[in-house]
Symmetry: none
Subunit: 203 residues, 4 copies
C-alpha cells in the first residue's frame, strides 16, 4: 500500500476540479480541503495556480496522445488506422471524463490559456490523423479531405458525447427522452467511426 505522494494527490484532485469548474472556478482552498493537504503545501509542490494547471493538463493529455499514437502506429491499413484512432481516442475520453471537460473548456476559450505542453499533445494527435488521411489518399482509398474538419468532427462528437453524459442523465423521464440516454461509448464510437469512414471512402 504505497502512500500516494502528496504532489500526485494534489495533481489528481486539481485535475478533477479543473474539469468540473474550469480554471477560474477552481478555488485553491477547496482544492486543499478536497485532497486533505494544507494549502501551503500546494504552493510548495506546484509553485502557483497556473503552474499547477499546466502540470495537471500535461499529465492528463500525454498518455492519451501516447495511446492514440501507439494504436495508430500498430496498424498498416489507413482504414484500420482511422478506426483505431477514433476508437482509442473515444475510449480514452470515456475512461477519463476530466479530459473531455477540460479540452472543451479550452476550445471554448479559443485555446488562449492552454499551456504549451498540453497543446503539443493535441497537435500530436492532429498530425497523426493528417498522416493517416494522406496515406489513405495516396492509396486511393480515401477521398481528399480537410483533416482539420475530420479532427474536429472526431473530437467534437466524442467530447460532447462524453461531457454530456451527466446532462443527459438529468433529463426528465419521458419516453421521448429515455431513448436519448444511450451512453455506451463503444457503440457510439463505432457509429462515429462508420459515419466518418463512409464519408471518406472513395466509392
Amino acid at each position: 500500500m504505497a502512500k500516494i505522494k502528496t504532489s500526485q494527490k494534489i495533481l489528481d484532485c486539481a485535475t478533477s476540479l479543473f474539469a468540473s469548474y474550469g480554471y477560474d472556478g477552481t478555488i485553491m482552498d477547496d482544492l486543499a480541503e478536497q485532497c486533505g493537504v494544507n494549502k501551503a503545501s500546494i504552493y510548495y509542490h506546484h509553485k502557483d495556480k497556473a503552474t499547477l494547471y499546466e502540470n495537471a493538463l500535461t499529465a492528463l493529455f500525454t498518455p492519451i496522445a501516447d495511446a492514440v499514437t501507439e494504436a495508430v502506429e500498430s496498424e498498416r491499413d489507413p482504414v484500420k488506422k482511422l478506426e483505431v484512432h477514433i476508437k482509442t481516442f473515444a475510449k480514452a475520453n470515456a475512461d477519463n471524463p476530466n479530459f473531455s471537460a477540460i479540452l472543451m473548456r479550452e476550445m471554448a476559450s479559443g485555446g488562449a490559456n492552454m499551456p504549451a505542453r498540453a497543446r503539443e499533445q493535441m497537435q500530436r494527435i492532429l498530425f497523426l490523423l493528417n498522416k493517416t488521411l494522406e496515406l489513405g489518399a495516396a492509396q486511393k482509398v480515401f477521398k481528399s479531405s480537410d483533416p482539420l474538419i475530420i479532427h474536429f468532427m472526431i473530437i467534437g462528437t466524442v467530447n460532447l458525447f462524453v461531457a454530456s453524459i451527466p446532462l443527459r442523465n438529468s433529463l426528465p423521464e419521458t419516453d421521448r427522452c429515455n431513448q436519448l440516454k444511450n451512453s455506451d461509448i463503444e457503440s457510439a464510437s463505432d457509429q462515429i467511426s462508420k459515419t466518418i469512414i463512409a464519408s471518406l471512402l472513395l466509392n
Copy 2:
C-alpha cells in the same frame, strides 16, 4: 439612431465576456467599464451575476432555436430538413461565435449550471432533429439512428469548428499548418451535412 437601452447594452457586453472568459472568469467591474455603465446599473437591471447570465443566455439561445425551427419547418423532405437544420445551425454559430463558446463551456460542466430557460432552447433543437429523423425513417429514406448521436455530431463539430477559429489562426505559419486554417463555415457545414446524410441514407 435610437439609443440602445442600457439593459440591452449590458446584456450584449455580458454575453461577449461570458463567451470569452466563462462565468467565473467574467468580472462585473470589467463588464461595467466595457459597456460604459455604472456597476450598480448592472445590478439594477439584472439583479445579480447569476441572473445576468441567465438573461444573456436566454437572449442568445432563443433566436438560434427559432431560426433552426423556422428553417426546418419550411421544408417537407426529411433530407432537405436535415440539410437546412445543419446549415442554419452552422450559420447561426458562425454569425454568433459567442454562442459556440458559451455552449461548449456549458457542455464541459455537464450543463450543471445551464439556466433552465437556456436549456429549453437546446431541447427545442434536439426534438426538432428527432422529428426529422423519425420522418425520414418512416419514409424509408433514413436508416434508424440514435438522434442524440447525430445531434452531438452536429453540435460538436460545428461548435468546435467555430470555437477553434481563433486557435487555428494562432498556429505557427508553417506549410503543414496553413492547410488547417480553412475557416469557411459554408463549405465546412456542407461537408458536415454531406457526411452525416451519407451515413444516414438507406441505400
Copy 3:
C-alpha cells in the same frame, strides 16, 4: 375614505421599520416597497434618511408625552398622579410597540443619535415625574427619592416588558416557560405601579 397622504404613509411605514430594524438596519429601498411609493418620493417628502428618522420619532413621541402629561395633570393626589403616570405610559407603550423598540435602541446607543425634538419629549415625561415626586415629598406622602432611578425603573421595566413580548412568545412550550408568557399590560403595569409606590410610601 380619505386617502392617507403619501407623506404620512411613508412616516408610518418608516416608524415601523425603524422600530424593527433600527436606523442602520432600515433600508430605504425596503421602505419604498413596503409603503408602495417610489423611492424618490421619500426624498421628496422627507429630505433624507436622517430627517425622516427625526420626523418619525417626533410624531411618535409627542402624543405619548402629551397623554402622560394630560393624565397626570388631571389628578391632584401625588399617589394618584404616579399611578396614572405609570399606567398611561404603560398603556401608550403597549398600544404602540414601535415606541418601546425605538426608545430602547436609542438608550442603547446612549441617545447619541436621538434627534433633539424627540429627546425633548422624553424630558417632558421625566420632569413630570420629578414634579410628582417632589409634591409627594412635600406632602410627606413619599420618601425622598432619586427621580431618575424611578424614571428608569418605569421606562426600563415597561419598555422591556413590551419589547420582549415577541421574544417570550417564541419560547418553547414547556410548563416552566408558559407561566412566563403573561403579556397582559394592565396587570403588569399594576404590579409595577404597586411595587414602586410601595417602596416610596413613607410608612
Copy 4:
C-alpha cells in the same frame, strides 16, 4: 506580557463596536482597523459577520450568567439570594457596559436576531430567579409573583441605568439636571434591590 491572540483581540473590539453601533452599524473595515488586523483575518477567525456577532455575544454573556449563578448559589436564604442576584447582575452590567447596550438592542428587536448561544445564557439567569422566587414562596417569605415581571424589572432598570450613563452625562448643566446624574451603581442597585424586595415580602 503574553501576546493576546488575534482571534481574541478581534472579539474584544467587535464586542465594543457592536455595543456602540449595533450589528448593522458596525462596519467590518472599521473593526479591522481598530484592532489592527487585516480584514481577511477577521474572516479567517470568525467566518463572517453573523458568526462573529454570535461569538462575541456568547463570550460576553456567559461570564455574567456564571457570576450571577455562582453568587446566588452561594446563598441559602431567598432574600439574600435575591439581593446578590440583583447586586451581582448590576455589578456585572456596570463593569461591562457593552453588555447593557447589546442586551437592550436585542430586546428592542424582540430578540429576533439574538444568537441561540447568547439567548441560553439569559435564560439561565431567568430560571435562576425563578427558583429563588419559588423558594421564597415555599418558605412563606415572598408573596407569589410573576418571575418574568421581576426579571424584566431588574434587567430593564439596571440596563437602562447603565446604558443611559453617557446620555445623562451629556445633559445640559442646569440645577435641575445635575441631580439626575447620579450614576453610582452600588447605591442604584441597592435601591432597586430594596424596592423589589419590599414589594415581595409577605408582611
